[in-house]
Subunit: 340 residues, 2 copies
């Protein structure tokens, strides 16, 4: 029930995903009075779908703590419960991110060896696609969290993006060793020295994100959230200026018409719907957060991310990689107590 | 002597600025053997210029501490000394940012009422231009620093950008009161409640930077540095994809030719040279950092920023505003000891 155009875009997105993933089955959780007519519109989808009725929803402005307490019969909570009960392989929501993370942590539990789950996202770069985490689940992170994020991000890039040996960068204000916060320097030395066998590049800067200097960018949830939203805002500004330029004269308009097929390709390359689907990594189960403002195409892509994660057994693979970190809790010292 | 194309672009940039600012006079500090021929190329500039010879330079990879110790006869240091001695009104450098800030702090001293100077920059938005600070001088900031940055940024936006009543936003991961780090929440309550008479908007997110939601964006130097570089990287990615689209077919190329005048206007709007000139705010004197990679046009713009600051008496105006903060040191409590 979450998202600006829900539940319509959820059902329409599921129909697109159904055509792409023949084996997929769907469990819709929400208000039957609103969902049933949508499924009636898509009889092929209805045949592979189940509907679980509830009228409760988590609103977008609900605090995570309030959603945990008061939202036990919400569509979001029941969808997560279904994953925990083995009735669904993954939960996909376009609703309240904080509530989704809080409920998923409570119900699915954090995976063994992970202190805190993170939100990962992927986006276009000069060299292809990169994945960045954390995008906002943990405002304060210590070195140990960052090292775990690096491992989870690497597995994600390997399994879902299909990269053979993804490179990893730690987001910082400079590439020199002495730069930035203490926890970054500690995380860097752990990633560099222990037996993780990661392709750790070292520190990267904000400009390296879009440059695609590394396949994985690791950062705390505060910085990651600012960075991803700054990139989105810049991209919107650029698009807006470009639109204004093309409509500024008859000649520019004609130029636009001629260049339109090429510009459509350009637009597709940067289309946020292609990169829709923030992944909650580090849980005992698969949870994907779709952008709230997306449409059916974007929601279908978020569903596709969940299918990819499932097909590649990402949860088990992260566990394998964590073994390499070893049981030594001092491997990644905890220099600063983190606050939730 | 600093910058990728220095000293040529410095002399060429000064010539552009000379034509714009009839009363300007220039003091070039650096290697006479290289600077003299450049001035000979511009006889009108040479007439209003003085040359101070030194062969020492601060390299781009020098640590600030090393530059302070070993760079006493460097061109950067002598230029700053000239401001301190009253021989120049402002120093403009395209060299090592960290060294420039460290030397400027040592020589010019931090202004009364300011705990730490900050680096401010301005850039295009949907609504015009905004200024953001700190862009990297202070990796860790407390609430008191952030409040001072807000005051300095507001005066800058008022005097140099010419805005009557600039609005101020604190960069955070959400607009709700309980979001983000402790120091942000404290700074927000100080900016909201005391007698500063600022148009404080509240928290803003990364996407608000390019949207131009507020005229001034206040943040710590770590986050600000990541944000500005992420925006630069995204802008480069966008430009690169656009170039590729326009050269992807003969038809797209023809469209480009027709739309070129409009696209040139678009390019000018986002031209980083227009927004060249990061300002070191909070010193007893005017210091401007030009982007190292800029050309003569960009360097001339950095010179223009210094002229604007001077013409508007920004240093005195910041002092006036600080009076409103009052002498109460508890007005902006210091919840977290900051590390340099």
């Amino acid at each position: 029930m979450g998202g600006d155009r829900a539940p319509d875009m959820v059902a329409d997105g599921a129909e697109i995903a159904r055509q792409k993933f023949a084996a997929a089955r769907f469990l819709f959780v929400g208000d039957e009075a609103r969902l049933r007519p949508l499924l009636d519109r898509h009889p092929d989808l209805a045949r592979v779908s189940e509907l679980r009725h509830t009228t409760e929803v988590v609103t977008n402005d609900a605090k995570p703590s309030a959603a945990l307490r008061g939202g036990r019969q919400s569509s979001m909570r029941l969808a997560i419960n279904a994953v925990q009960a083995g009735e669904a392989h993954a939960v996909i929501s376009a609703g309240n991110t904080g509530a989704l993370m809080a409920m998923a942590k409570l119900v699915l539990k954090t995976a063994p060896g992970i202190d805190r789950p993170a939100i990962a996202g992927f986006f276009p770069t000069m060299r292809g696609s990169s994945v960045m985490l954390d995008l906002g689940a943990n405002v304060e992170c210590d070195a140990r969290n960052l090292v775990q994020f690096a491992i989870m991000g690497e597995v994600f890039a390997r399994t879902v993006l299909g990269l053979a040996r993804p490179t990893i960068g730690l987001l910082n204000v400079g590439s020199e060793d002495q730069k930035g916060h203490e926890e970054l320097r500690t995380a860097s030395s752990v990633l560099r020295t222990n037996g993780l066998n990661l392709a750790f590049h070292g520190f990267v800067e904000g400009s390296d994100i879009a440059a695609g200097t590394t396949d994985v960018i690791v950062t705390d949830g505060f910085t990651g959230n600012i960075a991803i939203k700054t990139a989105e805002g810049t991209s919107r500004l650029f698009s807006s200026f470009l639109r204004q330029a093309f409509s500024s004269s008859p000649r520019a308009k004609l130029g636009y018409v001629l260049a339109k097929p090429a510009l459509d390709g350009f637009r597709q390359r940067i289309d946020p719907r292609r990169y829709n689907g923030a992944i909650l990594l580090g849980l005992n189960g698969i949870a994907v957060k779709s952008h709230g403002g997306t449409d059916a195409i974007g929601f279908a892509n978020a569903l596709g991310v969940a299918v990819d994660m499932l097909a590649n057994g990402i949860t088990a693979r992260i566990q394998e990689e964590l073994q390499h970190l070893g049981g030594d809790p001092d491997a990644a010292p905890n220099p600063r107590t983190a606050a939730v």
